[in-house]
Symmetry: C2
Subunit: 214 residues, 2 copies
Amino acid sequence: MEKQTIIDISWPIQPTMTTYKNKNDVHITINKTFEENHVRESSLCCGMHTGTHVDAPAHFLANGSTIDQMDLTKLTGTCLVIDCTQAQESIEKEMLATYPIHPGDIILLKTSNSATASTAPHRDAFVYLSAQGASYLVEKNIHAVGIDYLGIERNQPNHETHLTLLQKDIPIIEGLRLGHVKPGRYFFVCLPLALQGAEAAPARAILIPQAMPS
Amino acid sequence: MEKQTIIDISWPIQPTMTTYKNKNDVHITINKTFEENHVRESSLCCGMHTGTHVDAPAHFLANGSTIDQMDLTKLTGTCLVIDCTQAQESIEKEMLATYPIHPGDIILLKTSNSATASTAPHRDAFVYLSAQGASYLVEKNIHAVGIDYLGIERNQPNHETHLTLLQKDIPIIEGLRLGHVKPGRYFFVCLPLALQGAEAAPARAILIPQAMPS
């Protein structure tokens, strides 16, 4: 089998990484060093919303399903990376409507957020998806949506963007890194950790250009 | 595009899960509850070798590469699930040699370990891959090897199985769950968290039957 090319679109996890609202809740502990133990062992503490992660409906819905109940087929398949780098504030329906979005697509929103270093302090003014934009994606029957910042909306009081998507069981992938990715179609795989009963989980996300279906 | 079937082969992560040598180092903290905050937020602490995880060469080699440097193409591609359920102690070359192993294959060893509950106390006497079996897989130019327990060897003093594989930059996937998987060929994806500088990382692993190359 021909060797695949893989494009990693995950946020590097480390203690100095950008964290939402500068929580600084990522800690790595070295438990055994090679010098002392001839083996390296370390451990991790972090919020579920660290770096690249997936929000499940339970994040914002009383009876929403949890991340371990998520249908992984929604996080694996054809994706369309949309160029939203000209958006200054929010991504609206009008911008999305210029792209051919098919039912079952996974939509990744590439914005100017991706130009920010992965260790920069958190910015409140990141580019986000408006509630109206989210409604449009729901109408289009997408499988999932991802964005290149640690939130998909700016802590709006009613969390309308989250609610619009999660009420339809559409997973939200936050914390992607898309600066090195050309807009277009790819095969996408995002695998969140199998955390039982959690409202979200850290994940790794990749694009595989050659695995596109014909 | 036709909807994929996905077989999850990951170990469920939760505080009561089996941990290596019963370390019990998996902790989930609820930071915000829906009842009080109208949002759920939680966080995780765990060792890098929790549940399904990938060992990088840095785990046992002085100058070994770390998990963030791992070539993800070695963890994505055609896999062969080998029936080792008759092995009582170790998996030896003789058992592996009865299967058609191709260069670039990812080899998953299904053993009687998978019959154990995912929350059972740690068993020292798990079925493991012998150093001789590991040497055979190296000769076959495999891309990666996975096993259905939290170690690929029983803490052998010289860690020969680990060293044989990691010296050749062959990732070791530990903590798979294969009880529900028929031996045979699949498309495999295993994505470890993008932990910078770590010797290993928790991962999610799946099989996609339909994505097999022709």
